[in-house]
Structures are given as C-alpha cells and as structure tokens.
Amino acid sequence: MLRVRISKSLDDDALIQGIRKGRKRTLLHIYKKYYPDIRSHILKNSGSENDAQDVFQDAMMAIFQNITNKDFELTCQYKTYLHAVSSNIWRKKLRNSKDKDFIEYEDASHLAQEEIDDAVLTLERYQFYQEKFKELSEKCQQILKMYLSGVHMKNIAEHFGFASVSQTQKTKSTCNENLIKLIEKDPEYQTLIGYE
C-alpha cells in the first residue's frame, strides 16, 4: 500500500505548544524551517557553522524557559521572536570583538529588549551554575546530583559509606554551601542576576 506522508505547516500557537510540551516533531520542524535562516545570519555576522549551531540551540533553550513561564504571551511571530533571541545571544558573544560589526534582523528591532534579555539571562545563569558545579569536588558533585534527583538520604549514605543520615545531610549541606559560595563570589553572577 502506498503511504503518503503529509507535512503540515505548523502555526505559531502549535509551535509554542509543541515546545512547551517538548514535542520532538515540533522541534525538528523548527530546525528545518528556521535554522537555515539563523545560520545565514550568523555567518554574515562573522560567525562560523559551529557558532550558528550553538546560537540556535541556546536560543531554543532560552525560548523554552520563557515559554514555560506562566505569564508568557507571544506578541509577535515566532520567527521574529527567534530572530530577536538569536541575535541577542550572538551579539553578547561578539561583545569582546570590537572590530566586528553587527547587522540586526530588521523584523526583530522593534521587540521589547527587556523580555529578550530576561530570557537570555536566565539561560546564561543556568549555564553559569553548571560551570560552577563542575568546580566542586567529584564527591560533592555526585552527592548533590543524587540528592537533586530525589535519591533518599539513607541510600546516599549507604552509597558513600557515611555513618549516618545526619552526617550525609551535613555533607550535602556543606557541598551546597560551597557551590553557592563559588557562585556568589564570582562577579559575573551579579551581572547575571541584574545587580551590575
């Protein structure tokens, strides 16, 4: 029997729903429809193929974080929103390259910059936390990972050979405090939380 695959074009609402619910088919659709455009923009703005891929992924992550916010409302076309977020991410990465001129997307220039900045800043904070997490000792990383994944303290104690649950709790708290110290003492954190 002949099978015909019908590729239906998704409207913006369907895209937002697809991202919110984590539908792979929607994400693949977004890649096919919008990645070539973003790639072209990054290449025109002194970027490489790898830069384009990174920017696109970061933009999708930032959009996901914004979309999962209860107050989120798309006030422009999805394409325009993606342009604005991608552009913002790449402009930040170019920040230190003074010689490089940056060409903005025309359609994204009217968007409220604050909303875009917030979305990108949240993503940057998460990436920053992940980097700081890697600076902890191997043992601390494992304890916190297990704890955050919902592993019971008793099981963590058994796994690491701690004498008691309370000792495990204390070690976990120390690891968490160390992580927070690493984060808070880094000047970048103040920028990322908007206290620059």
Partner: protein, 244 residues
C-alpha cells in the same frame, strides 16, 4: 537569621518538611527578607539547572537529540543529493559522448560539414559562349540557380552530344551529390576519378571519397582512403587529412 539557618529553612520548604504554621511564617518572611527571597530563587534555579530530570535538562536533552537528528538527516540528504547529482552528471556525460560520437562520426555529419558544392563556371567569356552547347549553357544557369533536377537533364543531354564534355559530366555528379542521390553520383565520380584526360580528376576523387564516407556502409571507409591516396592536388590533400 544566618546563612546556615536560611539554607536549612529553604531546604525544608523545598522538601515539604514545613508544618502549616511554619509554612505561613516562611511565606511571610519571604515578603520581608530580600536575602531569603534571593536565596530561595537561587536554590530553585540550581535545582532546575543541576537536576538531570528537571524540565530544563530534559528539554536540553531532547533538543540535543533533535539537533543530532536534524544534522544527520541533512548530512544524509546532502549525500543523497550528491549521489543523484553525480549519477545525473555521469549519465549526461555518457549521453553526450554517445551523441557526439554518433553525430561527428555519422555520414550525415560528414556530409554537412565537408561537402561544399562545386561552383558552376557561369562567368563565361564571349568566345566560350559562342561554341557552347545550348543544353550545357542552360544547365549551367539552372545549376547556378540551384535548380538541380533541371540542370541534370540538360547536362546529360549535353554529355550525350559530346562525351568529352567532362564539365557537364562532373556537374551532373555534383547535382546528384547535392540532392544526396549518392547511388547515381557514385558511378560518374568513379569514372571521372579513373580517367586522367581531364582537369576534374582530383576533384572527382575528393568527392568520391566523401561519398564513400557519407555512405552508411562503414566498409566503404577503406575505399575512401584508397581513392584519396591517389590525389595529387595539395589543397585537396589537406582537406582529406582532416577526415582521415
């Protein structure tokens, strides 16, 4: 409240260990203690960023898989397009070679490219015209006007009257060649190329060789070579070298 107490309180809140009253107190403290609020926000974000099962990390993984799938698909699509392009180019190249071979080696190609009709000597002087056979003279005019069927009839009549009128004989062969009636042109050209008592011998040899190559029978190629071997006129020999 010191940092440790604050962290402990937040941890209890996040793990649902606060009783109702403690919870109400905690919510009230959030409104009045900006440090507590800030710490709570950091803890919440850390849980999202570091918990492998958080929405953030699950979406990140999903996006990574999609990213991989998209680029693998693009890569395989590019490979398919490349293969198809290569196949089309190979087919096109072969087709071109076959076409070129069939065209350039074909009798019709040789005829079209190398056959140039012999021009009739129409600018005759008064003395020549005076002694000229009427049929021959009218034949020349028709030949010049490209009315070859009429020219052939008149040249034949002239030749029947005067079998030494080699010009009429030669132009009859030319008219047949022009009309691509090679069967009738061949015996006349053969006869002229074997007779050395006139000035058209090398011309007749050239056209006879060309006629052999124009023939569909490839075994005639040897005959052409043989006929051309006898040519003495250098200009005509040069022309044959192109084809040999």
């Amino acid at each position: 409240m010191n940092k440790e107490e604050r962290a402990d309180l937040i941890d209890k809140f996040l793990t649902n260990q606060l009783e109702d009253l403690e919870l109400a107190r905690f919510q009230a403290m959030l409104d009045s203690d900006p440090e507590l609020k800030k710490s709570l926000r950091l803890e919440l974000e850390l849980r999202q960023a570091l918990n492998e099962k958080s929405d953030f990390n699950l979406f990140k993984k999903l996006l990574g898989d999609t990213h991989h799938e998209y680029f693998e698909e693009s890569k395989s699509m590019r490979f398919i397009v490349w293969k198809m392009t290569a196949a089309v180019l190979i087919i096109a190249a072969f087709s071109f070679l076959l076409w070129r071979n069939s065209v350039t080696g074909s009798p019709s190609y040789i005829y079209d490219k190398y056959f140039e009709p012999y021009e009739a000597p129409v600018n005759l002087r008064g003395a020549d015209i005076a002694g000229m056979d009427d049929n021959f003279m009218l034949g020349l005019i028709k030949y010049d006007k490209q009315e070859y069927t009429g020219a052939i009839t008149l040249f034949q009549k002239a030749y029947e009257k005067d079998y030494l009128n080699y010009t009429a004989r030669f132009l009859t062969a030319m008219a047949y060649m022009i009309q691509k009636d090679f069967t009738k042109a061949e015996p006349i050209l053969k006869e002229l190329s074997e007779d050395d008592s006139h000035l058209f011998q090398d011309q007749a040899r050239w056209y006879l060789g060309l006629l052999y190559l124009t023939d569909e029978d490839e075994t005639n190629n040897e005959k052409a070579q043989k006929v051309w071997d006898d040519i003495e006129n250098k200009d005509i020999l040069n022309k044959t070298e192109e084809l040999i």
